[in-house]
Structures are given as structure tokens and as C-alpha cells.
């Protein structure tokens, strides 16, 4: 029985009273649901308060930030903080470009390599296939001890340290979960298309590129989304591998914003507090956009037992 079928008993005599009466009946009928949504709304508002507050602070100018009674929502919203970050904040455009370069390259390679490997592990038959695969799986259970130092050493000896392309390659090494996802995706595809392509004389490579890979886009989107969000926000490895401030990514750069300059007190129409807020939000914007656009894949991925 659907809760949305509201049945009003008794004669409806028209006019204001019956409208009120109907509303009262509707509220009574949906008491539980209204209460549930109210609780959830308040709980999530409190939960998202750090984001709400920062959005609000980023839209406040100098005068409003100095008001003795701060408002949760800005009274005279201004984009001054964003303009300042995008045009005058030292380093910000560079950090953004570095993040785009590293994330773009690493995500592309992760999707490409994991698709190839996932296809082979799921569909091709060759000696030691399962042995190699389960060795990869087993490795995820070993605790990581000196991983950061050992990575430093590898990167140093390859001449890839303090190098953005090297950093991107290092992130591609995080390809365990992507391989699992792509193997699963290819397992779940029907085999007939593959057989048909083989009969038509296509070789392995052609079968993969023209027939199988296009059918695995759902897995690729999932892999790309996970990889994008992880790499865009990665902090500890980037901190260890990159020394040159000109090569900082956004995740690293915004933790090093130097806004506590004395001249802020008098000269500027914006304040460090508001400008920081704008910079943080701009740094997070790409992951938020990607996540919200592709959110349905996340829950599906979680439901299939994959951890983020």
C-alpha cells in the first residue's frame, strides 16, 4: 500500500477550512515520514557544517568577516575572495595546472593498463595466470612498513623524484584494486561477441579493442572515478616526493598557503580567512563535481564489495 494515497474521509465542503483540514490529515498521515526527513535534514546540515561554513566564509568580504555576530549565511555575498585567489594568489594557478597534469596522466594510464590486465586475467588462458593474479591479491594483506622510504629510494634511483611525470607514474603503481574491478567487469560480459569476432578472423588485439573494451566502459568509469578522487587529493606521497614549490599539486599547495601577511590588515578588501576558504573550495571542486556526476557508480561499486 502506498503512503502517498491520501484518503480524506467525510464530505468536502470547499473553502479554506477544508484546505486546512486536508493539510492536517496529510500531516497526520505522513507523521513518520516528515519526522524522519526533518531529523535527517538537521543531522546532515550539522554534518556538512564545515562545508556550509566555508562556503559562507568564502562569500564574505572584509566588513562582514569582522562583524561581531557572524552569520551562518552571508548577508552581502561577494566573489572578491574567488577573484583574489584566481588572479592574485601566488602559486594557485600553477598548483592547479600541476594537479591536472599529474591526475590526467595517472588516471589515463591506470584505466588503460588495468583494462588490458583485467581482460587478460578474466578472458585469456595462459600459463600461471591465476598464480600471478592471486599473488597480487595476497600482497594486499601484508602491512606496509617502510613503504614511503622505499618509494623515495626507488624514485631517487630512477631519477623520478621531484618530478611531476614521475609522481604520476608512481600513482599508477596503485593499480591493484583497478585490476580487480576490471577483471570482474570482463567476467560479467557475455562470451558470444568474443567468439563471433574470433570466427570473423580478428586477432586478440582487434577483438579486445573493437569488441570487448567498448563493452567494459562501466568498469572503466568506476576505475577512473576512484583513481581521480584518490590522486587529486593525495597528500603524504606528494609531500615526500616533491620538494620544489613550483611543482606542488593543489592538495599540497593549499596546506602551504602563506596568507598571514601584515599588509592584509590594512590594504586589502579581503581577509586571509575568507580567501583561504575560497582557495580550499576551489581545490576540492573537481572531486566534488566528479563525485556528484558519477555518484551512482559508487554505491554500485560498494555493493559489489569493493572498498574505497
Amino acid at each position: 500500500m502506498s503512503h502517498s494515497d491520501v484518503v480524506v474521509h467525510g464530505p468536502i465542503t470547499g473553502g479554506r477550512r477544508s484546505a486546512i483540514a486536508r493539510t492536517v490529515v496529510w500531516i497526520r498521515h505522513h507523521r513518520g515520514r516528515i519526522l524522519l526527513h526533518t531529523i535527517l535534514f538537521i543531522a546532515l546540515l550539522i554534518f556538512l557544517l564545515p562545508i556550509v561554513w566555508t562556503v559562507s566564509a568564502s562569500l564574505k568580504g572584509r566588513t562582514e568577516l569582522f562583524l561581531p555576530v557572524p552569520s551562518l549565511f552571508p548577508v552581502q555575498p561577494t566573489l572578491d575572495n574567488y577573484v583574489y585567489v584566481l588572479t592574485r594568489l601566488k602559486g594557485f594557478p600553477g598548483y592547479f595546472g600541476n594537479s591536472v597534469l599529474v591526475t590526467g596522466l595517472a588516471v589515463t594510464l591506470t584505466v588503460l593498463f588495468s583494462t588490458l590486465a583485467g581482460y587478460a586475467f578474466a578472458r585469456l588462458k595462459f600459463r600461471g595466470r591465476d598464480l600471478i593474479y592471486y599473488t597480487l591479491v595476497l600482497q594486499t594483506f601484508i602491512p606496509r612498513a617502510g613503504g614511503l622510504m622505499a618509494l623515495y629510494e626507488v624514485m631517487q634511483s630512477l631519477g623520478l623524484r621531484d618530478n611531476l611525470l614521475g609522481l604520476a607514474l608512481l600513482f599508477v603503481g596503485n593499480i591493484g584494486v583497478p585490476i580487480f574491478i576490471m577483471r570482474q567487469t570482463f567476467f560479467n560480459l557475455p562470451g558470444e561477441f568474443e567468439d563471433a569476432a574470433q570466427i570473423d578472423g580478428a586477432n586478440r588485439w582487434q577483438t579486445f579493442v573493437r569488441v570487448m573494451a567498448p563493452m567494459a566502459t562501466s568498469g572503466m568509469i568506476l576505475v577512473a572515478t576512484f583513481a581521480f578522487i584518490y590522486i587529486w587529493g593525495e597528500f603524504l606521497i606528494t609531500l615526500t616526493m616533491i620538494d620544489d614549490p613550483d611543482k606542488f599539486t593543489l592538495a599540497l599547495g593549499i596546506a602551504n598557503l602563506n596568507l598571514n601577511n601584515a599588509s592584509w590588515q590594512t590594504d586589502s578588501e579581503v581577509l586571509p580567512y575568507g580567501t583561504q576558504a575560497a582557495a580550499y573550495l576551489l581545490a576540492a571542486l573537481p572531486t566534488l563535481v566528479v563525485f556528484i556526476a558519477l555518484q551512482k557508480w559508487f554505491v554500485r561499486g560498494m555493493a559489489e564489495g569493493l572498498k574505497f
Binding site: L36, A43, L44, P50, I51, W53, T54, A57, P70, L72, L112, L116, A117, L124, F126, R127, R129, D130, L131, Y133, Y134, T135, Q139, F141, P143, A145, G146, G147, L148, M149, A150, E153, V154, L170, V172, G173, G176, I179, Q184, F187, F208, W232, G233, F235, L236, L250, L252, I254, Y273, Q276, Y280, A283, A284, L288, F291, Q295, K296, V299, E304, K307
Partner: protein, 326 residues
């Protein structure tokens, strides 16, 4: 083939191990088969070995040497000496206490808050609304860790933050705690920031568990006159136990990291009076900031903490699995 589909993902160490042994035994008498396979897996496996397997093994072996990076070619094998040194290192013990406190502040809320939130969201019947709630609950997880911590610190800013305004002026408590600036409050504040950043994962995992519970059980229970609380206690909790076990085990493993990234984002080290110096932070400073850059000692500290965290998680797993519900 169908059986193999099931066991990818996180089916546990036991089944991974038995699958590996099965594959090892059969690999001997397999034919070479389709050689394209090796071409296809090569790039991924090469990256995995170079930036995954090798650093992992190398890092483990480092823990048994007195590797000092600043000294050229100095990495003598010392067996368990690093661990003996740890036992007498006061800073290490202080850091271990900080890690433990962080874990104690972190674990209860990161299980209970997602449980409450997930139970509420699971009751929402309209798919479009539950999707919106799920996105909101998961949102902090996708933020870059540095952004998440800085946003949280912005809200708790002693001068401009809304929390202190609320405590001081709305509730009229007349206090303005420094939160991330006060050594006594740093660990709880960092743990709170960390819970906020990560609890979405648990919420989503518990929701997956809740969605798989048969709704007819609740209908039957309410016909029998069981109220919401008894339904939660006698249906939801027992049936959610497998997923709850996963959540508890994953949450306890935080001990191995315990706020390292959060502290490095905010303080680039241990913070005021080193109050945020957990083992992870201390190991990072030992390896990359202090003196001879003692990589061996730092690796040993990480390994010790990682093993303790694994044992703790294993004990939790045993306890939850064997304990009979009520």
C-alpha cells in the same frame, strides 16, 4: 569460472591464501596457452611490482637495518636492535600513547555515528531522496585530505570559526577554546576531523548491509507488536553483524596511521608541544626531518605499529565472529 568470480575483492586472508596455493599447484602442468596474455598484463604488473611489491618488501627489510639515508652506503643489518631501541625511547612511548589516544577518540564515533545515520537513511522509501542523503553522507570522503582537515579547522577557528561563536555567544558559555592550538585538545580535535572525513565510507557500507535485510521481517515484527527499538535490537543489529564486523575491523586499523596526514597537513609535524606527535608523525620526522634520516628506525616503528594494529583488528574479528548475539 563462476566460482572464481565470487572470491575477488575482500574475501579475507584465508581464502586468498588457499586460492593462491591452488593456483600455484596447477601452474606446473598448465600449457603456455595464449601468449597475448603476457603482453596484456605486462604494463599493469610492471607498475604494480615497481611501485607496489618492491617498496613493500624493501620497506619490511629496512626495519631490521640501521639504514641512515644521510650517510652514504650505511645500512648495516641489526636484527631486532631497532625494536630494542624503541623500548627505551621515551619519545616513541609518548608517540605511542598519542596514537592510542587518537584511536580511542576515533573508533567509537566512527562506528556509532554511521550506524545511526545509516539506519535513518535506510528508512527513506523514495529513491531520489535516499540518493541525495547518501551523496551528502559520503561527500567529505571525496574531499582531498588536506582540504577536509583545513575546512574542519576553519569551522573550529578560535577567532572566526562558527563553533566558538556558538559556544561563546549563543550558548553563553563564555569560552573560546583554541581547539587545534591547545595541546590538551589537539588529539580529540584531530580525531574529530578524521572521523568527519572518513565516516561516509562506514555509512555506505552499513547501508549496503541494511538494504540486504529482508523487509518482511520488520512487517512480521510490527504485527507481533515489536516497537522500533526492539526491531532494531532483535532484527537490524543481528543481521547487520557481518557488515558491522567489517566496519569495526577496518576502523580499528586506524591505529597504524592515527592522524599522521591530518597532523602533517595542519602542523607539518607534531604541533604545539608535540601534542599531535603520533607514531606515524614521529616516524615521518625520524625518516625525513631529523639528524641522519634514520630510515631503519622509522621503518621499524611503522612495522611495530602496523603489526599491533593487525593483531588488534584480528582479535576484534575473532571476538565479533564467535560471540553469540544476546
Amino acid at each position: 569460472m563462476a566460482q572464481m568470480q565470487r572470491d575477488s575483492g575482500d574475501s579475507g586472508l584465508d581464502s586468498a591464501w588457499s586460492n593462491w596455493r591452488g593456483a600455484y599447484a596447477s601452474a606446473r602442468h598448465e600449457t603456455w596457452g595464449d601468449l597475448w596474455g603476457y603482453v596484456f598484463i605486462f604494463p599493469a604488473v610492471a607498475m604494480f611490482v615497481l611501485f607496489g611489491s618492491w617498496p613493500l618488501l624493501r620497506g619490511l627489510s629496512m626495519a631490521f637495518t640501521d639504514y641512515r639515508y644521510a650517510l652514504p652506503d650505511y645500512q648495516p643489518f641489526v636484527g631486532f636492535l631497532n625494536f630494542a631501541e624503541m623500548a627505551g625511547d621515551e619519545r616513541f612511548w609518548q608517540a605511542a600513547v598519542h596514537s592510542l589516544l587518537f584511536t580511542l577518540y576515533y573508533v567509537p564515533p566512527i562506528i556509532l555515528l554511521p550506524l545511526g545515520l545509516a539506519v535513518l537513511i535506510a528508512r527513506v522509501r523514495q529513491p531520489q531522496w535516499s540518493a541525495i542523503y547518501r551523496v551528502c553522507a559520503y561527500l567529505p570522503v571525496v574531499l582531498p585530505i588536506s582540504v577536509a582537515v583545513l575546512l574542519f579547522a576553519e569551522l573550529f577557528h578560535s577567532q572566526f570559526g562558527y563553533i566558538n561563536y556558538f559556544l561563546d555567544k549563543v550558548l553563553r558559555l563564555g569560552i573560546k577554546p583554541a581547539w587545534f592550538g591547545d595541546p590538551a585538545l589537539i588529539l580529540p580535535s584531530l580525531a574529530a576531523a578524521s572521523v568527519w572525513k572518513h565516516m561516509g565510507t562506514n555509512t555506505l557500507l552499513l547501508l549496503v548491509g541494511l538494504y540486504s535485510i529482508n523487509g518482511e521481517l520488520y512487517e512480521a515484527a510490527s504485527i507481533d507488536g515489536a516497537g522500533a527499538w526492539r526491531q532494531f535490537w532483535h532484527i537490524t543489529l543481528p543481521l547487520l553483524k557481518p557488515m558491522l564486523t567489517v566496519v569495526v575491523v577496518l576502523s580499528v586499523e586506524v591505529l597504524a596511521y592515527s592522524g599522521t596526514q591530518e597532523a602533517l597537513v595542519l602542523f607539518k609535524g607534531g604541533g604545539p608541544e608535540d601534542a599531535a606527535q603520533t607514531v606515524g608523525v614521529y616516524a615521518y620526522q625520524t625518516a625525513f626531518k631529523m639528524g641522519d634520516l634514520r630510515w631503519g628506525y622509522a621503518a621499524a616503528m611503522n612495522l611495530a605499529l602496523g603489526v599491533v594494529a593487525m593483531v588488534l583488528a584480528g582479535l576484534m574479528f575473532r571476538a565479533l565472529r564467535s560471540e553469540r548475539y544476546l
